[in-house]
Every structure is written in structure tokens, then in C-alpha cells.
Subunit: 401 residues, 2 copies
């Protein structure tokens, strides 16, 4: 099975596109991972288990040879089915094509052998991508910490876009990287603002990073590549299929420290991303909106089901990123909530802004003793709230209720 060890030419291409200059370190594994990224659709757990068990190169050899007989967590039939999926795609040409496209347009190839491979993708376990193809800064995904995914509906309202812009700008100003999916609506507003603010931003694509999607964001995606990073796991040339979009969402969730749904309809794809983040144990936030807005129904759903923390401003997102303590119970000591029992309120109520009243009269009206009233009146006078004359006391100005 030496057929899938890289030739000199392939090694040269690999060196040109790799994020690490010296590809001779674990060369066979690097090359095998590129092959795996052609054989499988994103998130293929059988491939993930095989590679985890044997290493990428040995796993490839075993798969081509007929599959190992006993792999933990994979029964014989699953392995037979998996090989039926993989083997029709085994093509040296397509592997070479993708490396050549990458070399030609200056993409970078990241694999777990590279120092700048984002370690947190390990949380995806056997669903982790085999490689990442990057347009732009190949080390950004590893460096971009803390980072927040700002995601939401393509069919965003002006409210949603307004919030996405505000959050993106403020989070960038705090040095937080913005991760999103380059779609129309919320994603675009989040990326665009990050670029304008000079912040760090990463776009995760469902297809090949050489194929900007949506087409209307070709320019935006190009600018993200120039200033940040455009990242995908599918080989260059791959189409963005629905399946790959759903799997792309797991990468957004995994590359961000927290995921915030800015605006999302009842069945928005961003709920799928939120679901991935929850599965990974990452904090999820959701921005509320009017209950009359269909564009917020999905975000409100997350809040109602206690799947997400309510996000009302950038500070709330920063709190989500922190080692957030369990949500505090409502603070019953807060003065706005506490049944107000302070005597000064009762004395103020018993005073007029016009008529002068003697302490006994104030006491009767307030239901307090004259001694208590006089003590409070003294304090209120110090505060400039009341005035005294031989006729008694009155409030200085109207105290609007």
C-alpha cells in the first residue's frame, strides 16, 4: 500500500502549502490526512476512530487493505459499510488536484501535526476534521483566543443586524475574535464590522475555501482572507452541500469559546450551531427580541428552554466567556426589588410641597412615632430635601412618584 505514500512531487506541493515549513516530520501522516479529507464527508466517526487508533497513514493503509478486523467502537458491518463509502472516492488525482489548487492560489493546509493546529478542535473527538484549508492567516485559528461566534439568520431584520454590529464592534475593541459563517444577514454584519474595527475575524465555509459562498459575499470573504482567515475542511473545489453546512456549524462551535445567537427564526440553522456548542459544553448566549418578531423566535426558544444565557450587551458576552459562576439568583436585596421600608419614604409621603406640617401631623400621616419622624426630618434637611419654618416642615420640591 505504498501507493499512498507521497511522491517527491507531492511532498514538494505539501511543503509549499503546509503551515509548517518542514513537512518531513510525520510526512506520511500529513499526506494521509489530505487523502482522508477526500475519502470522507465531514464528521465521519468511523474514519475518526480508525485514525485515532492507528494514526492517519496506517489507518489509510488498513482501510485500503480491507479494514482492521477489530476496532474499538466499530463493529465489522460498520467497517464494511464505511469502506463502501470511502473506496469509490480513492483517487490520487483528486488529492493532487486539491494540493495544486491550494499551491496556486496560496491556501495553507493545517493538520494536527502542525504547531498552529487549533488544539480545541480536539474536543470534537472522533468528529474532528482531518485537515483545515485556510485562506489568510494560518495561525489565527490557534491564536484567536478568546473568541466568540456571532451567528444568526440570513433573513435578519435591521434590529438583528444593528445588534450584530454593536456586539461585534465592542467585542473586537476588547480583543475578542469574531467567528462566523460568512452568510448573509447576521454573519455578514458580524464579519464586516470586525473588519472595519480592525479586529480578528474567522469565517468557516461549508465548501472549499476557494469557492466563496454565497457568491454575493465573494468580496467580503476575500477581505476576511486578507485580514483574518477563511477556513474550511472540505478540499479545494468542493461544493457547499447542505450536509457540509450542518457539519461546518460544528467547526464554528468548536473554534469559538462561546456561541451567541443574535437573531434566529424558529428553525434557523444557527440553532444547529448552538446545539453543537452545547454538546461541546461551550457556553451559549442568545439575544432576545420582540416576541412579535418571527426572526427572533429561535433565539427566544433557546432562552425559554434555558439552553442559552440572555445577552443584552457586549459585557454580557464577556461574562459568558469568563469562568462564569452559575447564574446568580435574583438579588432580593436590590433596592429596586426590595419592598421599600425606609422611613424616609414614609416621611416624604407625609409632607407637602406647599403646606407646612408639624412633626406630630407628619407622624400621624406617616404612621410613625413623632420621635422617629424628627430623626428622619433632620436627615432629609441635611440632604436638602426638606425645609423648616416656625409653621413646621415641607418638601423642597415635587418628588415625582
Amino acid at each position: 500500500m505504498t501507493a499512498f505514500l507521497p511522491t517527491a512531487d507531492e511532498t514538494r506541493l505539501l511543503a509549499r502549502v503546509s503551515a509548517t515549513a518542514d513537512v518531513t516530520d510525520r510526512l506520511d501522516d500529513r499526506f494521509a490526512r489530505v487523502v482522508w479529507s477526500h475519502l470522507t464527508e465531514p464528521g465521519d466517526a468511523v474514519a475518526g476512530r480508525l485514525i485515532a487508533e492507528l494514526g492517519a497513514s496506517e489507518a489509510l493503509r488498513a482501510a485500503v487493505a480491507g479494514g482492521p478486523q477489530d476496532l474499538p467502537g466499530v463493529d465489522r458491518q460498520q467497517m464494511i459499510d464505511a469502506r463502501k463509502r470511502w473506496m469509490p472516492r480513492l483517487s490520487r488525482e483528486s488529492v493532487r488536484d486539491s494540493l495544486e489548487i491550494a499551491a496556486r492560489i496560496g491556501l495553507r493546509l493545517l493538520s494536527p501535526e502542525d504547531e498552529v493546529w487549533p488544539a480545541r478542535l480536539g474536543d470534537l473527538d472522533v468528529h474532528a476534521p482531518h485537515v483545515l484549508w485556510v485562506r489568510g492567516d494560518a495561525s489565527l485559528a490557534a491564536r484567536a483566543q478568546p473568541s466568540v461566534a456571532l451567528i444568526g439568520a440570513r433573513a435578519a431584520t435591521s434590529y438583528g443586524e444593528h445588534v450584530a454590529i454593536d456586539l461585534s464592534a465592542e467585542l473586537c475593541a476588547s480583543g475578542i475574535a469574531i467567528v462566523s459563517g460568512a452568510a448573509y444577514g447576521i454573519d455578514g454584519a458580524a464579519h464586516r464590522t470586525a473588519l472595519a474595527a480592525g479586529g480578528k475575524t474567522l469565517a468557516l465555509l461549508a465548501g472549499g475555501v476557494d469557492r466563496p459562498y454565497p457568491a454575493g459575499h465573494t468580496d467580503l470573504i476575500g477581505r476576511i482572507g486578507d485580514a483574518g482567515a477563511v477556513i474550511g475542511e472540505a478540499p479545494p473545489g468542493s461544493a457547499p452541500t447542505k450536509w457540509r453546512f450542518l457539519q461546518r456549524n460544528r467547526l464554528i462551535a468548536a473554534l469559538a469559546d462561546a456561541t451567541v445567537v443574535v437573531e434566529a427564526g424558529w428553525r434557523s440553522g444557527s440553532l444547529n450551531t448552538a446545539g453543537h456548542a452545547l454538546t461541546l459544553g461551550r457556553p451559549v448566549g442568545a439575544v432576545p427580541g420582540p416576541i412579535t418578531s418571527a426572526a427572533s423566535a429561535g433565539a427566544l426558544r433557546l432562552l425559554r428552554e434555558s439552553a442559552a444565557t440572555c445577552i443584552t450587551c457586549a459585557a454580557d458576552v464577556r461574562e459568558l466567556l469568563g469562568d462564569a459562576p452559575p447564574l446568580a439568583l435574583f438579588d432580593l436585596d436590590d433596592s429596586a426589588l426590595r419592598p421599600r421600608t425606609d422611613d424616609s419614604t414614609r416621611v416624604r409621603d407625609a409632607l407637602s410641597t406647599r403646606a407646612w406640617r408639624l412633626p406630630d401631623e407628619v407622624a400621624r400621616r406617616s404612621g410613625m412615632s413623632p420621635g422617629e419622624v424628627e430623626a428622619v426630618l433632620g436627615l432629609l434637611m441635611l440632604g436638602g430635601e426638606v425645609e423648616q419654618s416656625p409653621l413646621g416642615w415641607r418638601r423642597r420640591s415635587a418628588d415625582p412618584r
Copy 2:
């Protein structure tokens, strides 16, 4: 101290305004409670403890005589201070005046001796009101179950009023009574809609129920009295002071099975009502709104602090009223959130709406085995999604992503 047993005249007045025709049952206690409602400001815990310990009539005798020497939970100094508050207000005339006003304008007097006294006020413990004065249906407060307090800002937005109207109409249609405070804004919208819908509605006032407040709601409060009930604990003629507003809020919270803040600013008085509801262990809901709306800041605060359940529709309020189980964790099995792994998605992705493709080609494109693909194609054909020809398979119509 027979001075505070009712005269024949006072007994006649009491019989006329009382919610129970035969006032001779515990006559002295009924009368003493009316006196207590003149001596104290709402929520006076010392009076509450004294009455709980001795009964209203004996408590009044003891208070006039100098206070009992040892009352559980009240030390000697507190009793001395309390008597200084109460005694200046001891006036047979004002008691008689309030009974006469009530008799003249047809108010009803409710006391714990009456069968139609709302039992849940007992949850207020020593802070429970001594009596209630009712304009309208005296038994409604006891009968109005289930009931919901719909409360919020006076300075409501059209969004807030819209939501108050929708919730009030739908809850009334479910037979749920609407409790509120007759203020401008959310309160008014909730009451007005309940009246229009022929539902049950109760308005709690801070001052005497003979003094409609705000003046601009004189007509509305009159209509609530005609069709429902206008309720207050302060004797007729009492002014609505700030203190009494804050204490009135505890009655709203106590008379409703759940409290829903529809729209409230950061320091809105309705947060005080929510605080009372939480203290009583009653469920609290809050309606989210745009994070850009100052009028929703208080409601969002309740949500963020996990003090309230997110309310998006009347069904959510009904759920709040039910024996609600602890909030369900996010359902990761929900299809919108689950990483979609169904094979049909992958086969659909691999098909064209124009070009015919053979199963092997579909298998290669989908990363599935040909056998799996054929099984899925058969199902999709049964569903009318795909069509077959000698050239292979294709999708019947565009499947928008």
C-alpha cells in the same frame, strides 16, 4: 377598653358594607380590623404579629392598654415604637367616616372572618392586610382562580401595549383572571382588554378605592368596578402615597397565581411586584423585548438573573401557572438542533435537478456505499422527491438549502 367595641350604629353600618350579611359572628374582631386598618400603614409586621397572637379585638385592647409585655418576635422597644406610631391615629371618627363613605357609595368590606376572604393572602403572613375594601364584586378575589398579574411600565411602548393586549385577551379566553394596578401603560391595556373580552379583572389601588388613581383612569376604574373588582386595603378617603404603592404591589403578587412583567424599565416599580412574587414563592414571567429598548431593560434584567421565565405567548403563561416541572434542559434530540446525519440529506445533496446520475456516481458524491444509496433513492422515490430514468436518478424539484 370597651371604647373600641362597636356601637349599635357602627354595627348597622358594618352589616351594610360587610361581605357577609350576618356580622354578629365575631363582630368585635371585624370591627377591630377596621380600626387596625386606620392605625397602621400597610404591611405593619408588629401589628400583624399582635393580631396573629391575640386576635384583632384583643390585640387592639392590648395595644391601647400599653401593649403586651412579651410578644413572640417583637421586643419591648419595638412595641413601644409601634404604639407611638399607632396611637396618634386612634380616632373613632375616622373609623366611622370610612364606614359611612363605604355605605354611601356601595363599597364592600372584606375581612378574614368572611367566607369570601381570599385565602391566599395568608401567604403574606404578618404582612397580610387587616381588611380589603372592594368596589364591585366582593367575592371575585376569592373566586378568581387561576389568575395572572399582568404588570409593567406606565411609560409603555406600543410594542408593550400590543403584547399586554394579546396576552390579556388570550388569557381571558382561557378563563384566567387578570390582576393589575390600573396604572397608565401596561396595566391599563391589560384591564381594558379584559373588560372588552368579557373576562374577569381585578384592579389593586394604593389609596382608598373611592379615590380613582390616576385621575385619567377614573372611567376605566369605574368600569372595572362594574364588571370586576377594584380593591384596596387603605380606608376610603386615603391618599395613594408612594409607600402605599409599594405595599399595594405585594397585594398584586399575593392575589395572582403568577406575575408577568410585560414591559418594564430598569428601575420600574413592576420589578418590586416581581420581587414580592418571588418572596411569596409564586412563579414570575417576563416578556423579552429588543435589547435596544430602555422600556424592556427591567424585563430583560429579570430574565438574565434567572428570576423570571421567558414568556413569548399566552401558552407560556398557562405553562407558568401549571404545576410547572423544572425548566426542561435543551432537547438535543430536536431535529433543528441535532447534527443532521440522515442519509437522505446526503443523497439529496448528491443529486442534480437536471443531470441524471447513476447510483455509483451518487454514492461517490455522497460518500455513501452504492447499496445505501439505492435504499435511500427508493424511499425518496416513494416520497415523490426523485425520479428515475434509464440514465439514472435526479431530484424532482429544486431543494432550497
